[in-house]
Amino acid sequence: MWDSSTVTMILMGLLETLYMTLFSTLLAYVLGLPLGVLLVTSDKDGIMPLPKLNKVLNFIVNILRSVPFLILLIAVIPFTRFIIGTTIGSTATVVPLVIAAAPFIARLVESSIKEVDKGVIEAAVSMGCSPFQIIYKVMIPEAVPSLIVGAAIATTTILGYSAMAGIVGGGGLGDIAIRFGYYRYQKDIMIVTVALLVVVVQVAQEVGMLIARKRDKRK
């Protein structure tokens, strides 16, 4: 059973999982980072209070966060087909992953940036910073260690989501685990794939924490 084609398949699965996870995380940050910043700055006590926009954004984020991923995965199939041209394979899985992860990342970013000392932001205002300068010269740089921890959490969560994509033929280790372990009762393959997922999560989490610790100048 453990012939070269199985090994190749599992390695391919691993690569697909990494591709899906990293690509989705990256794209989700492209949407989630500005969204998270906007959630903080548009707050009524924020540096650019826009209470109505803030309410709308909060509502949208909460809605997207409350839809179970499995349902979202199927619900966005027409949208995925429209963008990618297909609904099968790793690239197609990136679409629901990004839609699910972006609001989650927005919340992580929001909480990281809210940790930045209000006094430091006040000092920046007193030095004549524009709101945009406050965002990219104060809020984000001061929150970097916390943002990195958040990125590690986001990456590992998206990795978990990507394994579910196996249900709709999304590819990757999760797909293999479901097809061989669940449908064909090949427990050994399932165990190997799950073990690989565990290792990937551990490595991603540890590396994230390590970088965050190295970058943090507060101690």
Binding site: D117, G119, V120, E122, A123, A124, V125, S126, M127, G128, C129, S130, Q133, K137, V138, P141, E142, V144, P145, R215, D216, K217, R218, K219
Partner: protein, 339 residues
Amino acid sequence: MHTKNNIIEIKSLTKIFYTKEREVKALENIDLSIGEGAVYGIIGMSGAGKSTLVRCINYIERPTSGTIVVDGKDLSRLNERELREVRRSMGMIFQQFNLLMQRTAEENITFPLEVSGMKKNEARMRAKELLEIVGLSDKAAAYPSQLSGGQKQRVAIARALATNPKVLLCDEATSALDPSTTKSILELLRDINKRLGITIVIITHEMSVIEQICTHVAIIDESGIAETGAVSEVFSHPKTAAAQRLVFPDGKRISQLIGRRCCRIVFEGSSSFDPVISRMILECKAQVNILFADMKDIDGKAFGQLVLQLPREDEVSDRIIRYLQSQDLSVEEVNGYVG
């Protein structure tokens, strides 16, 4: 440094904070003029509104009504961009220092310069100069977490001075520091005032801070200005109850001790190197009891006051008072002189 033109003019400033249930008047009808080159202290109990007042001066807090004119510019007439320009002409330091924790001391100082668009190299040169002024040349590469409280405040002062401001606003800048560090920070501020001619506005709740470096003082009490004037004037003749509370912080306790005749002697800088009390005792051949004594050295002159409990015999007491008056001291009889 003597005051010439007023660099800050505050007219009928009122600030009201609206919460859901009620409105809170933080400041009411404040009028204040701060002369160029002054070291102006604003003192009051906590909650009196002094922090709000200093935040109105650089428009971090927008007044509900009234005008603030800084260096000839009425801040209420400026748009956001122009306001940012004005803020760059005013430095500000804080009780909690508010340094960027992920930047080194030098990078903290270059921050306001980067914001105003100065080239990196130029900004670094300027930061080096400033670190020298505040005595921290060897700490350029240190992060704030590696510095002591006093060192952090020095970096904050250097940062506030980076853009060559005309005014330095200090919001309880020494309240988080121990007494000896406070002294050295105040000395640095005085030095900056003398050398660079920067007008300094100091918000504090400690009379000792005012005594050490301020030329002028405004006492703020229950959202309004109770008293203003030169420090020596307000200190030796506090007129209002709020001022008296600050000048005699332990007043209440003393008023209970005073049973018989007492007199208060105010030293205003001239005769305090003269052992006047011991001469008085020898001359009048009478004993007195010192109930309260508070002597300070302000700008090389001694200021202070003594409260003496006088002898039982009225005749002797009168003689003592006459003698002290003949020594050019301001003497007054007191009974329960504080509110």
